[in-house]
């Protein structure tokens, strides 16, 4: 049971644990010991990436004690999450320095969050999921409120915390109902139960729906999205970026697992499949509409991106909708998440370079006439914004392409049309900042963008990645196609 091969399988988490301990030690020695903490974090994350990469193309799915799954899917996500975190850790040093937040605790919390997220994506037990969710969320709350002297940051953290806590309790209640109905908290056993179960499923359904709500909340799908704009606006940019990428990815992996928790072939769950699809349709359309229409009214850039995230959630849900009847289309969700993460990584890092005159955060008007003053940043930002809008030859196009294709393939034409219209509305929202940057004359009160060379290089790499994936997305698609969902 505890043999050497298992150790290899859980290596990434062990490394993460050691990393957390090390950074904790470093910060307990002196809180200003940034460099060692940063180096330790980078080292840890690189190691995690290496170890998880070694586990790629695992041809079998190994479940440890029914709690944790080690599969191609989990390893890929783990690798991906740690890579994104690594980019943020490397890229946000300047920002933290500027905001005077640069203490080793930051790295400690980031690593904790990564640990939580990485366990979350591999969790095969409702309870493990809860623990992992909390391990991910608690550092996230702290990170959102990292600017301790800024009331906005505090407010955002508190809102996030209270709502997250309440929804965590909702999740637990749902989990307990599922446990009550099926007699187990392990997903595989629940799946087996659903296969043979014949009879009343009310308790299970209530539990399942509650559980879904909790993670729809984490993924910020309308109407569970209210926290997102406020939290995005209040939190430090680097943290917003982490939330937009790491937490969203983890939440969606869990959502996919939860949606596919039961065997819909089973007699007692056949009508439920249709109802669930209906739920996803409604939530997806709501997210699309809410995200796109409110986005075009925003003045604050981070808020705009929050609504854009809600909009993107809608697209991903559309892809998910396709998988409900055609599970092999699941790759569209993964691909979308990956593409979206690349774009938002770049965009948030870019925003973290800005220096505004006031501390209201970066307003849209702060971008006025940026092209004349800083063409590089303008070009990069335009690439990211156009990517978000789904313009051709950027990764954003193919992400949308795959989810549309997946839902068309399951016959959801009407919803694809709605999504298409929302894409147009959203495109307007993304084009506004581009137009401001490109078409206006510079405004003396507008924001400055100063980044270190390494930082710039990182963002340029991400932008190039956006474009390369926009022309040759095959590699990524091949990888994501391997990420099959095993109940």
């Amino acid at each position: 049971m505890f043999d050497s091969s298992t150790i290899t399988l859980i290596f990434p988490w062990i490394i993460l644990g050691f990393g957390i301990m090390a950074t904790m030690l470093a910060s307990s020695v002196r809180i200003e010991t940034r460099l060692p903490a940063k180096l330790l974090t980078i080292f840890t994350l690189v190691l995690v990436m290496i170890t998880s990469a070694k586990l790629f193309n695992l041809d079998t799915t190994i479940t440890i004690n029914g709690f944790i799954e080690v599969s191609h899917l989990s390893c890929m996500t783990l690798f991906f999450i740690s890579a994104i975190s690594l980019i943020f850790v490397v890229g946000s040093g300047g920002y933290l320095e500027k905001e005077k937040l640069h203490i080793s605790d930051f790295y400690n919390l980031v690593l904790l969050m990564v640990l939580g997220a990485s366990v979350l994506v591999s969790a095969k037990d409702l309870f493990v999921m809860f623990i992992a969710l909390e391990v991910m969320s608690l550092p996230a709350y702290a990170l959102v409120g990292f600017r301790r002297n800024d009331s906005r940051s505090n407010e955002a953290a508190l809102k996030y915390f209270i709502l997250g806590g309440a929804l965590g309790a909702v999740y637990l209640l749902g989990a307990s109902f599922i446990f009550g109905a099926s007699g187990s908290t392990q997903l595989s056993q629940i799946f087996e139960w659903s296969k043979i179960h014949n009879g009343d499923v009310l308790l299970f359904l209530v539990g399942h729906i509650l559980v879904l709500f909790a993670f729809l909340f984490k993924a910020a799908a309308a109407p569970f999205h209210f926290w997102k704009p406020d939290v995005y606006e209040g939190s430090p940019v680097a943290v917003t970026g982490l939330m937009a990428t790491v937490i969203t990815t983890a939440a969606f992996v869990v959502l996919v697992r939860l949606f596919h928790m039961v065997d819909f072939q089973s007699q007692s769950f056949v009508p439920y499949l249709e109802s669930l699809k209906q739920l996803i349709r409604v939530v997806a359309v709501l997210s699309l509409v809410v995200g796109s229409t409110i986005m075009i009214l925003q003045k604050n850039l981070k808020r705009l991106l929050a609504y854009s995230a809600i909009n993107h959630t809608g697209y991903i849900l559309l892809g998910l909708l396709g998988t409900m009847s055609k599970p092999e289309q699941i790759y569209s969700v993964w691909f979308y998440l990956a593409g979206y993460a690349v774009i938002s990584c770049g965009l948030f890092l870019l925003l973290s370079q800005s220096e505004t005159r006031n501390d209201q955060g970066l307003e849209l008007v702060d971008l006025t006439g940026l092209m004349k003053r800083n063409p590089l940043v303008t070009a990069l930002a335009s690439i990211f914004f156009l990517s978000m809008a789904g313009m051709p030859f950027t990764v954003g196009f193919f992400t949308k392409y795959t989810v549309f294709m997946s839902s068309i393939a399951s016959g959801e034409v009407v919803f694809v049309i709605i999504a298409a219209i929302c894409t147009v509305i959203g495109a307007y929202g993304y084009l506004r900042p581009v137009a401001l940057m490109v078409m206006r004359d510079p405004d003396p009160t507008a924001a400055e963008f100063n980044g270190t060379k390494s930082n710039q290089a990182l963002i340029i790499m991400l932008a190039v990645l956006c474009l390369v994936l926009g022309v040759f997305p095959q590699a990524l698609i091949q990888l994501t196609k391997g990420m099959e969902l095993i109940p």
Binding site: M371, L386, M391, P392, F393, F397, F398, Y401, T402, F404, M405, I408, A409, G411, V413, V416, I417, A420, I421, T423, V424, A427, Y428, L431, A435, V438, M439, P473, Q474, I477, Q478, K481
Partner: protein, 482 residues
């Protein structure tokens, strides 16, 4: 169909030009862009030559690009697309040779975007895979928006947005239609494909779904062309855009819509078109007259030219919707001739504007005396625009109308009335600019008559317009076997 490797060159070369433009010093950008575009045009001629001469033969090339997504990079140059590709090659060369004030600002970006535009236009005209077509069709927006936005005149942001949003709205619905078509194909055969050749197998189906798909396509192209109720974006954009962008839009991008109708909509949805033919023809004919009326009341000469563009494209659409090989060929001829004519008119109008200090519109008068050669050229352009016999436009318009007449006499006559109004507004345009008493104050002091590159190119185009007015067999002969 011959398999050919040359077609990718038409894509690679402008893309290369677009990338390399960033490494060329500002001072030599014009030479650079001229060089790239001349080579590009030469390439187009080289590739297109066998297609033009061997009637009915085309070139084909298929590269596996994203086969797992149902996307193949299949390029096809046949007698339909060859004229559009040639036209775009020629127009791009002329546009990049123009001397203009927009070169002073963001020079590198301009050349880069220009070649990216050429790249996407070529890709759109060449691709016979609908997804690739959509991709390039959509990619055209990016340089276009930037051009209008950065180098355009004031009050541009709104017009750009309107242009972008309307076009994007149409084209994304087309994308959904494409998806749905390939889904239908999937249901039929079990393979996902967006290749035109595959999807054509669906064309004889007459189901509501096909009608909806047709609607998606129609909307996209009708906005692009534009047809009557979908033209709202056009005027502001044309007026505000810098001359190269205006020329590109009216000479080439509108042809993207026409091409889309001819290449995709016609073959894919013959049933749908036939069932809606009356409405479609009426829309086209109404576009002609409606835009002519708008042109009559337009105060701004550039707005007048923009409306005239809509009006002439109405004729093209009349030909397209008449269905049948001859009508289609006529529509292509008219498209090419309209491309050349609008190139001349917008080009010369830009030269005139540049020669005036005062840009206010009432201030035009009596310039013909100041710039006689320029105005002689403009006059021939105006004559071509009113499609006087002996010009290329006449051939196109005459053929379109004579082939539309048996289909719908009423619409043809309606569109014919547009011919009269065409004379009214074009003469008004010319008279306003050229005739009357000139006052020296309006003219910039250094202003000279047209000369150099401008003169050579314009005379060349006008010569072509007149030559093809008498010898259009090049266009007609190659296309009879379509």
């Amino acid at each position: 169909m011959e398999n050919s490797q040359q077609l990718t060159a038409l894509l690679i070369w402008p893309m290369l030009g677009s990338i390399l433009a960033w490494f060329i010093p500002k001072a030599s950008q014009r030479i650079y862009s001229l060089f790239i575009s001349i080579v590009q045009f030469a390439l187009v001629i080289y590739v297109a030559y066998p297609v033009i001469t061997q009637t009915g033969q085309g070139l084909e090339q298929t590269l596996p690009w994203l086969s797992d997504l149902g996307i193949q990079l299949s390029l096809k140059l046949d007698s339909t697309s060859v004229w559009f590709v040639l036209l775009s090659g020629f127009v791009s060369f002329v546009v990049l040779g123009m001397k203009g004030q927009w070169y002073r600002r963001n020079t590198r970006l301009f050349s880069s975007m220009a070649f990216f535009l050429i790249f996407s236009i070529n890709a759109a005209f060449l691709s016979s895979n609908l997804i690739v077509f959509y991709l390039s069709y959509e990619a055209v927006f990016i340089p276009m928006i930037l051009m209008v936005g950065i180098w355009g005149s004031s009050t541009k942001a709104n017009s750009v947005f309107r242009f972008f949003l309307m076009s994007f709205f149409g084209s994304i619905l087309m994308l959904v239609s494409i998806f749905y078509l390939s889904y239908l194909y999937f249901l039929k055969t079990g393979i996902f494909s967006a290749n035109l050749n595959d999807l054509l197998k669906l064309s004889n189906e007459n189901s509501p779904a096909m009608l909806w798909c047709f609607a998606g396509f129609f909307l996209a192209f009708a906005i692009k062309v534009p047809l009557f109720p979908f033209h709202g974006w056009l005027k502001e954009v044309y007026v505000n855009a810098p001359a190269p962008a205006t020329i590109w839009m009216s000479a080439i991008l509108s042809k993207l819509g026409v091409y889309g109708f001819i290449r995709f909509v016609g073959p894919l949805f013959p049933e749908a078109i036939l069932s809606a033919q009356g409405i479609l023809l009426a829309l086209a004919a109404f576009s002609v007259i409606y835009a002519a009326f708008l042109a009559i009341q337009a105060k701004d000469p550039k707005a007048l030219l923009s409306y005239s563009s809509i009006s002439h494209l109405g004729f093209v659409m009349l030909g397209v919707f008449s269905m049948g090989a001859s009508a289609k060929t006529s529509a292509i001829v008219l498209s090419v001739s309209h491309g050349l004519t609008s190139l001349v008119l917008f080009y010369l109008y830009d030269l005139i504007v540049k020669r005036k200090e005062d840009v206010s519109l009432e201030a035009y008068s009596g310039l013909a005396k100041k710039f006689p050669i320029l105005f002689v050229c403009l006059f021939i352009g105006v004559l071509a625009s009113v499609s006087l016999p002996g010009t290329f436009n006449f051939v196109g318009e005459f053929l379109v109308l004579i082939h539309a007449y048996p289909v719908s006499a009423l619409c043809t006559i309606l569109a014919g009335i547009g011919v009269i109004f065409g004379a009214v507004y074009m003469l008004k345009f010319y008279q306003k600019l050229g005739f009357g008493v000139s006052s020296d104050a309006q003219v910039a002091e250094v202003a000279e008559d047209i000369s150099g590159f401008d003169l050579i190119v314009i005379v060349l185009i006008l010569a072509l317009i007149i030559y093809f007015g008498f010898q259009p067999s090049l266009f007609l002969g190659g296309m009879t076997n379509v």
